[in-house]
Symmetry: C2
DNA sequence: TATTGTTATACTCTATAACTATA
DNA sequence: TATAGTTATAGAGTATAACAATA
């Protein structure tokens, strides 16, 4: 395939722009999926940042969420009230709290992710060939 | 290409899941792009829903945003305070307000869209072949 | 003295209900 | 009487600053 860096950049912008627009167009459905569960986008992000095993300090969560520590306290309080997360203390430094998901929290997290990963109906109208090309190209995008 | 509906659905889920995850991973950068301009996600959605010509009634905006009419009032008030939008009255029904973008509002809207459409660096590491396949498949997704 | 996290507080955002103007 | 939009008000979410506990 004959090409130049400039042409490549133009293709990338085209592809990305379309991906972005498509995601934006499907945003209301995700918003409703949260609403049905009485959750906010913040709650979903909170669930996404946590797991059952690896405890996260309040500080690191505030860093990831680019918010104030007091706001992280508020968000985790909320997840705890839902029964989705819990704070644990560690012996080595009693100032620190480690936040982990509860069983319930992990279940809701998985449910949400499954729903968010369900392709919009329009995508199924693409040919298997196009779908395969899409999946393959996006796989290479993996860690970058 | 030999395939079945089931295999096709699996491919679609794979492609969509990867697209979704990639978009989520790049969300903080978009959040910062808004923050640099002192704008909220709501402001961006407001700008995206409006243009210079086609006036939108408050009611239709509230419908699109799936929020209460009073909240739409609040959002448009905010855009007006920024100088991004203005309300116009029409002679045929003096209850109705039509909201349009100002020149400034359109400029900021275009700036934001341009920034959001700028592909993340990782995308440029894909081969021209993959980028073309991506752009081509996504183009077919156009209106669905 | 520095760091982790919470509490106090004010400000912004969002929704429900009451209201004004027009149809 | 019904509809478009705004205002009044209360509640939820987010930030800054002061604080308590531990290192």
């Amino acid at each position: 395939m004959p090409t130049t860096p400039k042409a490549s950049a133009a293709l990338a912008r085209q592809a990305w722009g379309r991906m972005f627009d498509y995601l934006m167009r499907t945003a209301p459905e995700r918003s409703r999926a949260l609403g049905r569960r009485g959750l906010t986008p913040n709650d979903a992000r909170g669930l996404a940042s946590l797991d059952r095993d690896r405890g996260r300090t309040m500080r690191s969560l505030a860093g990831e969420w680019e918010c104030d520590a007091s706001n992280a306290t508020w968000i985790v309080d909320r997840l705890e009230r839902f029964g989705f997360a819990e704070r644990r203390t560690i012996a080595s430094d009693r100032r620190v709290k480690l936040v982990v998901l509860t069983v319930k929290g992990e279940r809701v997290r998985a449910e949400l992710l499954d729903e968010f990963h369900t392709p919009p109906p329009g995508l199924l109208r693409l040919s298997p060939r196009d779908l395969a090309a899409l999946a393959r190209a996006l796989e290479k995008l993996g860690g970058v």
